[in-house]
Amino acid sequence: MNRLEDALRGALRREEPPAGFAGRVLAAAQGRDQQRAVSRWWFFRQSPRLRWAAAFAAVVLLAGGGIEYRHQQRAKAERAKDQLMLALRITGSKLRLVQERIRWIEEAPMER
């Protein structure tokens, strides 16, 4: 038992890293990040077709969004216009009602 414990203690004992270890690890990690970033854009840089396709897709999306927005605004304005015309027709019909009755009252004594 003591031998096992000694073996474990020996295996798990703290050892100081060699000088410059932390610096090397950080440098390696940074290098890997740069490599990943480079490889991400490498495909676009190397393929003009893909670049054009991406640009075209962006233009189509923007244009589509713009057309849809204008379409919605137009529909909203058309609904507002219908309401406006309805409101003016109702107002006009009520003004006419008053006018006709006043005219009737004015003309009625003359007819009698």
């Binding site: 304005a77 507002a80 216009k81 309805l86 003016l88 009755r101």
Partner: protein
Amino acid sequence: MRIAIVFLAGMLASASAQEIKMPPGLERLGAKAEESVDVTLDGPLLQFASRVLSDKDPDEARAKKIVAGLKGIYVRSFEFAKEGEYNQAEIDAFRAQLQPPTWSRVAGVKSSRGGENAEVYFKMATGGDIGGLVVIAAEPKELTIVNIVGTIKPEDLADLSGEFGIPKLDFGARRQTSKQTPPPAPPKSKGKEPE
């Protein structure tokens, strides 16, 4: 903070644009009515609508001219299956807001037999223009209140009553009158409630 100030300013602008408050009970009448029209067009929406009005269509061209000076149009119209569905006291309370010298009652017809009342109020503005218009038409089975906020030129008012398929209005002889048997109301071209 800025958003709150802008929101508050917007609410105040909207409130001041309408000025005259519609009777609160009107909102409930929609459920009782067979047909109802509820139009609320505030300044920005009104100008937004006027942008799509055609200059080629005579009605729309006239509407565009009328709307140019307006800040808001509010219409509530209800048609009921039976009489007595709306509260006369609410109409009286609404009418009480239209006090001189700001408002003047330019025309009013009343039929004691048919129970039909129609009144037109003007808010006078500078330069002979009309600063606002309110129409109250109360019949036993129908109620219509129109509140137009903003400047209307007298010739535009003539257009309003004279065009849109109806004859011109002459308010030259402004008189208030009451008669027992006025002529029957002209046939209406009632529109559907906008969605």
